[in-house]
Amino acid sequence: MISIEEQQKLFIEISRRLDKEITVYAIGGTAMMFLGIKDSTLDIDLVFETERDKEVFKDAIKPLGYSNIDSAIVYGGKTNAPEMMKRGDERFDLFVINVIDFIFSDTMQQRAEQIYQFGANLILKVADSHDIILMKCATDRLKDRDDAKKIIESRKIDWQTIVNEAKKQINLGKTDTAWELGYFLEDLKNDLKVEVPQVVLDELFGILKNQIEKRKKNI
């Protein structure tokens, strides 16, 4: 586990080792820590804009004792799994734009308005709370549902933003978004007793129905 203060020190240390300015997006527990929803996290989930930025970042953390581990341990056979680097019980999950079945879209990038700069070279943008929920749905690891519950209970959620982003993901070619998100939110509602408006689920499953009908016609 890494606390807020330890994480800040770590990012400053990394920034000193970066040889060019890079921008990363915090999407998971790290983002929740910056939003004040969580006090510590196991894994630092970061999304990079380019593969080159990820390589520069990796080169900076390797001398700090981080080494590659197999992402299948956590993500199984999921597509677009991150590159994972671990030191002790701290772990970096490094994505490049694609986060499993989701794309960290341009609208998500624009919504990340909270910015933290570490040293001269590391600029960390914190994903909006709506997008963290979507990313939690994408990664869907142990505790991701608990985290999503925490976000929904502690922030004001504009459900239309989530539905609109789901539609955007479908337009970007991530056709399973409505299915994935619908079931993720339904599970939150049924199993964890989170207040998810029924109209949101209806809209998502409505999208799914249309997709099925379209496919049927094509067959």
Partner: protein
């Protein structure tokens, strides 16, 4: 009450009286709550002229660091509320960086507040380098000439001026989107920019 719950209820600017009213507790208990939040790093205290204490309670306080807005508020008579979170750790941002950031926000009030920085800016080489990187040399030059009309500033180096001055055929650019003043057209023409300020906007600098 849990600290997180307290923070959620009290986020903002308070006095002991406002906290005791809000939570419906005695002033003693309110002071105890402030103490607990301070220990967790969420409280910044300021004193008013009459020696009363005002508490700024926010999660951001715990994260520490500095921000461009803190620097602007420290150096400028025009004060601004932080419109968005941009915190910096592991280095103290320079005045030159702060000026460039302020111009890049394209916000009228932030740019107005940043004019005061010309009183203290000394590293014109760094400023030119940063301005060029962000393609705002002309804006910096025009705002400098404007600031000179209202306050004593450090002198811009000839090298900065010569390098930053545009050719006459360059199109005029906005400093704040779609906002142009009828005043200071001479400065605007020289630097090929639309200045957004009237002299009335600069009252605080007189």
């Amino acid at each position: 009450m849990k600290t997180k719950e307290l923070l959620k209820k009290l986020e903002g600017v308070h006095t002991i009286t406002s906290i005791s009213d809000l939570l419906n507790v005695s002033k003693q208990k309110a002071a105890y709550y402030v103490c607990r939040l301070r220990k967790a790093g969420y409280v910044k205290t300021k004193r008013l002229r009459d020696n009363r204490r005002v508490y700024n309670i926010s999660f951001e306080n715990r994260l520490g660091g500095s921000s461009y807005y803190d620097i602007l508020n420290k150096n400028s008579p025009v004060k601004i509320a932080t419109p968005k979170v941009y915190r910096i750790y592991g280095k103290e941002p320079s005045l030159e960086e702060t000026l460039v950031y302020a111009i890049k926000t394209r916000s009228l009030r932030t740019i107005l507040a940043s004019l005061a920085l010309f009183k203290k800016i000394e590293n014109w080489k760094e400023l030119y380098h940063l301005a060029k990187k962000n393609h705002i040399e002309r804006q910096v030059g025009a705002l400098y000439d404007l600031a000179r009309k209202f306050m004593r500033t450090r002198r811009m180096t000839k090298r900065f001026r010569n390098n930053a001055l545009p050719k006459k055929e360059y199109p005029l650019v906005y400093i704040v989107d779609n906002l142009k003043s009828k005043e200071f057209s001479d400065i605007g023409e020289t630097w090929r920019v639309y200045l957004p300020f009237n002299s009335a906007d600069l009252e605080d600098y007189k």
